[in-house]
């Protein structure tokens, strides 16, 4: 069975500090991994996907197949990064099958 684990329910850092939100997964095969973010009173939106290998809003995430992890990192946190972050997993995105399995989420608070 596929599973996504985000061990930290809450994470609090100061502005300018590095931040790492942990995500571990369980999947037999080659998964697609994503990070979604939900700012206060806004809809869920895609932040990163591992196949893109891009940096969005200063965030990066590297897929480590050996450790089955997809941790989200940012070297210098900003107050506007405060939000709920969800790690999500899917099987290969064939056709239009976009079924996702989500972790429980980590609420990041960046203090001034």
């Amino acid at each position: 069975a596929q599973r996504v684990t985000q061990p930290e329910k809450l994470l609090s850092v100061f502005k300018g500090a590095p931040v790492e939100l942990k995500c571990n997964y369980s999947y037999s095969g080659s998964p697609e991994l994503f990070w979604y973010v939900q700012y206060s009173r806004q809809r869920l939106q895609l932040l990163l996907r591992h196949i893109s290998r891009e940096s969005i809003k200063g965030f990066t995430a590297d897929l480590n197949k050996g450790e089955t992890s997809f941790h989200l990192k940012k070297p210098f946190a900003q107050e506007e990064d405060s939000a709920m972050y969800y790690c999500a997993l899917s099987g290969p995105l064939r056709g239009s099958n976009y079924k996702l399995t989500f972790g429980k989420g980590t609420l990041l608070t960046v203090n001034p």
């Binding site: 869920l44 996907r49 899917s90 239009s96 099958n97 976009y98 996702l100 972790g103 429980k104």
Partner: protein, 112 residues
């Protein structure tokens, strides 16, 4: 990208009644997905709605409780039937396009 509109954005309903949630997409998509997010929990997939066929339900969800319609390629409805307080959740519609999964703003349902 895909823009998704959900109606209603929130509702308070009496137990034993039913609520139908609408999801409208700005482009044609083959599959639409319905998720539930219970208080303090992550998103859980309820079912996949294909146009022209019956929805496919995930384990723990049944058609009698969550009937789904998919009359065309841009629209779907999810009904929460015979509601109880345990159905109080946020219900989200999702579609996939171009390797991205997009979400509606959600319907916040409170059952009293």
């Amino acid at each position: 990208s895909a823009v998704i509109s959900q109606k209603p954005s929130r509702d308070i309903c009496q137990r034993g009644t039913s609520l139908t949630i609408q999801c409208q997409v700005d482009s044609q998509v083959t599959m639409m997905f319905w998720y539930r997010q219970q208080p303090g929990q992550s998103l859980t997939l309820i079912a996949t709605a294909n146009q022209g066929s019956e929805a496919t339900y995930e384990s723990g969800f049944v058609i009698d409780k969550f009937p789904i319609s998919r009359p065309n390629l841009t629209f779907s409805t999810l009904t929460v039937s015979n509601m109880s307080p345990e159905d109080s959740s946020i219900y989200l519609c999702s579609v996939g396009k171009g390797g991205w999964a997009f979400f509606g703003q959600g319907t916040r349902l409170t059952v009293v």
